[in-house]
């Protein structure tokens, strides 16, 4: 089904996943990927015509909650975990629209 992953498609995946890859990783990963693709490509041989996909481990239906406010302001506690905050805001390098 899939050709082994070349460096450019690996870079594309890394962009999607937002992970910077080192030269060493770009070098090492294709072989590992190749092996994984070999494993998962076995699925292509299975006849699944008429089989409904199973998303959960068994067919559950969704439970809903009442429209109630159940939380209080914990900003100070939550922001004590943040790398950078000011005036109640989380700070990041400038966002360009």
């Amino acid at each position: 089904m899939s050709d082994s992953l070349n460096e450019s498609s690996l870079r594309h995946l890394a962009r999607l996943a937002c992970i910077e890859l080192s030269a060493e990783e770009l070098d090492r990963l294709p072989a590992r990927f190749h092996s994984i693709l070999g494993l998962i490509d076995r699925l292509q041989q299975v006849d699944t015509q008429g089989v409904k996909p199973l998303a959960q481990s068994f067919d559950l239906t969704l439970r809903l909650r009442d429209d109630e406010i159940t939380t209080r302001d914990q900003r100070a506690q939550f922001q004590s975990l943040a790398p950078e905050v000011a005036d109640g805001l989380y700070l990041v390098p400038r966002v360009i629209e």
Binding site: M1, S2, L5, L10, L13, A14, L16, A17, C18, I19, E20, L21, S22, E25, R28, L29, A31, R32, F33, S35, I36, G38, L39, I40, D41, R42, L43, Q44, V46, T48, V51, K52, P53, L54, A55, Q56, S57, F58, L60, L62, R63, R65, Q74, Q77, F78, L81, A82, P83, E84, Y90, V92, P93, R94, V95, I96
Partner: protein, 489 residues
Amino acid sequence: MNLDDTSLRMLCAGLRERTFSSEELTQAYLQRIEQYNTRLGCFITVDPERSLSQARAADIRLARGEGGPLLGIPVAHKDIFCTEGWLTTCGSRMLSNFVAPYDAHVIQRFKEAGSVILGKTNMDEFAMGSSNETSFYGPVHNPWQLTHVPGGSSGGSAAAVAARLAPLATATDTGGSIRQPAAFCGISGLKPTYGRVSRYGMIAFASSLDQGGLMAPSAADLAWSLGTLTGFDERDATSVARPEEDFGAQLEHSLEGLRIGLPRQYFGSGIAPGVAQAVEEALRVYESRGARLVEVDLPHSELSVPVYYVLAPAEASSNLSRYDGVRYGWRASQYGDLNEMIARSRAEGFGAEVKLRILTGAYVLSQGYYDAYYLQAQRVRRLIQQDFLQAFEQCDVLMGPTTPSTAFRFGDKGSDPVQMYLSDIFTIGVNLAGLPGMSIPVGFDGQGLPVGLQLIGPHFSEARLLAVAHGYQQATDWHARVPGRGEQA
């Protein structure tokens, strides 16, 4: 107090009869941790002061005659469960500074039961691994042979229980992460039915597969504490509301007439001789107690590994997107723009296996591949689930080896990830079908490493599984064996 030869029932009785206090008991375990943890690497965080203060609080309640079966009992928690005020790392550098601001539902239940938090146990990073080698905090060593892995991802919990550094530990199982390390470390482990245990506050790996569970020396210990672990939680939309069960009370159950299904696919080639032999002997024990062996078929079982390695990475790639260095967790110190800040924080915060799985997940969900991989895997997942449901029309419980081999040496699986993945071949199907599964120790191989027997039951049949395991453990004493913990003999 002989911590090598005790049970939760005995510890509970000791506390109630004031033979020892929770503080003394906790202190005794903390001393053992102090003594062995450097060698074994079971715990990422221990905080004796805090544990002892919880123990003293439990002692007050004990004195008042309050509480249930776990009041005052020290319990080790896998570092995947958010624990308020405790460092909760999930085995990752990404969360190396994350002091959880809230309790996971599981932690909350154990706190309400009055148990003492003994520490947070080591694990494969974000539960991705079968050997505990992917932890940012270093490997865990198998207490039977320090040169060998304890299994994963709940390797810290398994080794801690095996070495009797804790009488009970929480753990999680996404593809075998309770049963495989339980087998490798010679203890009893239970992964309940999907939906039994709330996933709230349990750091997500693959949401449709993750399930919290327990590890202890014996099935009786598991039954003693399972009621504390389970229970409906409205904060988890997949939590299933069930009437409360007293698992301990259902433990004594005759094995007479029990129909044990032996999946053909679990007894093929590729099973290490030592494993095959121990499992055969265990089955003979069951037969001698009146159980009947039935051969059954799980025709798609071989496909469980590829299905899993599509679905779990897909879910994981999305679940782990929240770690972006904005609100908490690791942030790179050097970066240019916003995108680089996020991409580098993730590059530095995640280890190699986690990155590999995130990239795999992104791949199988990406445009043009979704149908062929993700949807196809979900369809095969249904076939695998149907196999199990059909098998349970012929038997009450399925049995087979938990793993094809016993614990392997560090580094033995080489650099090919699939070699490692294939070691989960017998455990993964249970997660895909959402079934409850156990592993119990049934002997040793030629190297003196423990062998695990896997027990699989229909949905919500935990009580039955525990009784079946307990029946075996009454006839044998493998579960009572204690490893050398690396001490010179």
